[in-house]
Amino acid sequence: MIVSRKPLSLAERFYLPAVANGFKVTWRHFRRTVFEGKTAAGETAGGFHPEVPWKVEPGYRGAPYLVRDQEGHTKCVSCQLCEFICPPKAIRITPPGPDGQAADRKNAEKMPRDFEINMLRCIFCGLCQEVCPEEAIFLQKDYSLSGGSREEMIYNKERLLALGGTHSGTQKWKHKLEEAKAQEAFPVKTP
């Protein structure tokens, strides 16, 4: 179908109706903001960022932080899968090595000596969380990260753990240990 174009009037050719309509919109916003005290941000989020923080919905992919288990132990076992999967190579883990500090919970054997995330490199893709076999790293709700220098934006293990909080999980290493202890006594108790 061919739509025949309506010939423009002289006023239309000088953009007069378009300009008038534009002013109408501008005036409407001017009136609502100045005389009625209403704003789009105020109506949807209750105010402007950063005075009023943006409400983060569940499932949002913010900054990745390390979490502790319900007993306050480091969950990360330094398996380095997140370091491997990380597309922008933002994660760098220093493994404990043969002489490093043992894990702070029994039976897990291993935890990272250091765990660094370069938040300037991080693209918040969530692959680290997805790949983690220990449920030790989660993308959390922080979306506004700032720092005075590049070094400051490389978060180390202590900082990531402090920001990450607690995540209660199954505590598989603890259960394995309990299971093993139960077997030392005969008859073996089964769950």
Partner: protein, 574 residues
Amino acid sequence: MSTPTPFLPPQTAPSAETIRVKVDGRDIDVPKMMPDWQGKLQPTTMLQACQLAGVEVPHYCYHSKLPVAGNCRMCLVEFGTPMMGPDRKPVLNEDGTPKIARSVLPYEPGTPRGAIACATPISPGMELYPSSAATRQMREAVLESLLINHPLDCPICDQAGECKLQEYSVQHGQATTRFVETKVHKPKVVDLGPRIVLDDERCVLCTRCIRFTRDLVGDDKLGIVNRGSYNTIAAFPGTRFENNYTLNTVDLCPVGALTSKDFRFQMRVWFLKETPSICATCATGCNVTVGSREEVIHRLTPRENDAVNGHWMCDHGRLNYRWVGRSDRLAEVQVRLSSGDLQRSSWTVALDRVAQHLRKATAGSVAIIASARLTTEELFLLRQIGVRVGAIMDSVPRRGEGDAYLVHADKNPNMNGARATGVVGAEPGSQLPRIIEGIRTGAIRTVLAFGEDLVKAGCPAESLGRLEMLVAGDILPNATTARAHVVLPGCAHLEKRGTFINAKGRVQRFRKAVEAPGDARPEWEYLLDLHRALGGPSGPDNIEGLFHWMAREVPVLAGLEWSRLGDTGVTVTI
């Protein structure tokens, strides 16, 4: 290292007589007999036939250099044999082909039965089905059984990434377990010896470690204790697993049961860059793979070369790599000022100073100490320089304890290279007393020491002070570099390319695994510059060209080509 032991069996060729079998429906002629772990000819097994046909048969306990145990059952393969009538004549199909009887359970003829491929010899006309549904089903069942009590602690297991259990689980395993009972728990983090940690829960009881240490090393220290599902690998009570070859069991272990204390929790294996190289701890020259990440060496593992080290290497050589990353490595070119202080300089200035001095030096007043830890190419260049300036040359011999397996009494990796290039005569070190005496009396006024500490070699430190010019090319600081007029930082063999000639005369090439620190340059690079500055031909600029130049000049190496050396080397007669 004279007579072949089971540790290094003689290289036997398979028999010329062949047998025709079918692997996955394809006809293939395989040798009737093939060498076993001791190099003796034995009937070819189904597993070897499948390997020759290019079909991989998963296995844990089988290893080409260990006695066959046949206990893991992973290599079960369905097969068929030509049917034989009561008249002992083959039964034929309608089209004239021999009728094949598939292997079945004797009491349940409908059920296929496999045979362990590692220990079942082939027979003429046999058909192997390593990819059939029945074979797959058997593998899945065996794998499920092996995983029943496996702890699945891959996140903390050093073997993860090079674990056969992981690999076969991906191919044949199931996503979830059907096992609802409690797993049997066994000892974890068992201290087996000074270099080995054992995790019994991860063990699949393939007994490779037991067979290696009992049958190859002759140090019977490991065994299986307890019964049934409580089977546990352990060192015999009151003994420690501490011979010089224990770490080979870590490589042999198909799972993460035996792990190295040295490599424990250092780096995940999938990050490691693997570079083929040579161990430089003794004159055996075991082939190794260097595992490094971001210019840090994390481990050495033996690389297969049946002419040199088989699949193995000694623990001492394997752990002798930490010094490469030492923080006090020489990383600056230094030149001594007239005030007596060493000052950082550049390669151009330092080499200029050496060349200027050498041009003025009279024949007989120069001595060159060339370490037999340098590459053959570097020794060749030093020889060229030595001839040009009329220098007395020698190397420092290092003798130590050898053993019947892989450790050689000569602790220099390249004394044969020094012999071939003419740096040393028949008796290495015979010129040393003359050189030391010459330094003391003042007859020798210039000394070039490469990779050797003169003070350690027996030259009094105060007589070094009398030299007009002492050039020290080395890797780590020592008493000689502290007194040198020119310090030239060099590279460890893991940081450069080149060749060593081992005690048996095998010319072996190695590659560069990591970068050298700071200003350090491979010795052959700056020796080429120095040789040119002394009026030598412009010559090649790369290691390949240098090797070919050397092969033209050195009779022992005549006709050799860099590319022909490959990764396993070529034997020459010294």
